[in-house]
Symmetry: C2
Subunit: 309 residues, 2 copies
Amino acid sequence: MEKLLVFGHQNPDTDAVTSAISFAHYLNQMGVEAEAVALGEVNEETDFALRHFEADFPRVITTASNEVSAVALVDHNEFQQSVSDISNLEVKYVVDHHRISNFETANPLYYRAEPVGCTNTIIYKLFKEAEIAIPSQIAGLMVSAIISDTLLFKSPTCTGEDIKAAQALAELAELDLEAYGLELLKAGTALENKSNEALLNMDAKSFSMGDKIVRVGQVNTVDIDEVLERQKDLEKLMEVTNASEGYDLFVLMITNIIENDSKILAVGSGAAKVETAFDVTLKDHTALLEGVVSRKKQVIPQLTEAYTN
Amino acid sequence: MEKLLVFGHQNPDTDAVTSAISFAHYLNQMGVEAEAVALGEVNEETDFALRHFEADFPRVITTASNEVSAVALVDHNEFQQSVSDISNLEVKYVVDHHRISNFETANPLYYRAEPVGCTNTIIYKLFKEAEIAIPSQIAGLMVSAIISDTLLFKSPTCTGEDIKAAQALAELAELDLEAYGLELLKAGTALENKSNEALLNMDAKSFSMGDKIVRVGQVNTVDIDEVLERQKDLEKLMEVTNASEGYDLFVLMITNIIENDSKILAVGSGAAKVETAFDVTLKDHTALLEGVVSRKKQVIPQLTEAYTN
């Protein structure tokens, strides 16, 4: 079989980057030639993790069909979140923990999704099932992704399997989970040097809802008000982006990782859907969603329902 | 968690029926309440297998949302092949070995697909991974499905994993694989007492291709000419069905399970796509496809390409 490229979603977060690395390693051990790449530059948090474990930074690509004919997707499946030429490629493998939408293949494939907090928790199980040893460096990257995706086990997406995998991986990486975890999360909240554009794009993903496209970004912080100091500029940019990209709605979740709440900023013709979805009244385009930290579990299903009912 | 209904596709074949039974048993062992049902009466082959292993016939349903809010799909994922009210249900699990198409969820789920010959081969691996013993009766039903889907290991869809699983399951069921296999396949070729309608519907599935719907049925036989004695009547019925259901094309694969060839009968506006897909000229609506026995691997991808290019 020819070489596969393995990658996570656009605007890669720590799980997108490191699950490509860990799954490519798994495939290599299974006798499948595979290279981990990324669909964008790594963010501060991922940068911290890669440096901490002295790992190579993945090569960044924008198209894949110029290099290969087949790919493996990790941490995503929706085509609009994937490489730009995904329709010209054969998807041979998917390992993911998200809803399935806007995804189709002409041929049978290997697809492994579980409703757990992190793609790397599933990849940990794959290694176990195949009885393949996980090198310490890769274990360190994998546990970083679990910490990141579950906000150190505090997100409602976190399952017992995530905790079990993280503990086993931390042992392999010889890591103090709590101390390293806080350091890692803090590295991801350094927003003050980011441009408005960079902040909106950091972790933003597009979602098909009904016949509309909704853009949902998320930034982690320890001080929501600090982010909202730039609210007016962010709103302007969101409006411009909605117009140029055809988004019906742009939602930014500003998540306080200490308090475990999110303030959402909603801009676009679909803003009323936000009010329906979360039973709130937007005030100056914002609303506080108490206890909401998970886009996947606490925002996307609710918005999808508001758009499809 | 409330009870789940577990079912395979409409017009159930042996894998659709028995993978519902085996996966429901697996879920029960994992502490999830689940009941196997079927989306239609079982065919002769499945009837033979259920009687041979003295298994209960599954209850037949046409809608599920009147009973439950969540379901598990086996041996299919495309909504048009599923229960009629699938859009009102939450899909919690899928175990399948087909392409993914016309499938989407609002929430993360458990999805396990592998490009192997039979759903029960994957379910065999699930039992192994969870270290759950497979009762002899269920092992017998599972191996029947592998024999059926791989035409006793002769289909190009058959993988080493299917053979390995079948051998292990045959041992658990205390079965002579070759002797039982031939008996089972022969039980599925008793077509003479079937009405034309029943024959066309036996194992037919609908597929989205481009913006069209294509219907593809398959009958196994040891004598293709015997089936073609009713060609004119079948054609008429296919035309009527295309008109009433809006199919662009109706293809019937008449597969000789001894010679491992198929004659196809193609009716509808899309008939020219068949000529493109298989590089043949239809003569009196038919063409012989040498060595073609697998709808999934040797017919659907080729037709899809003809429809989308």
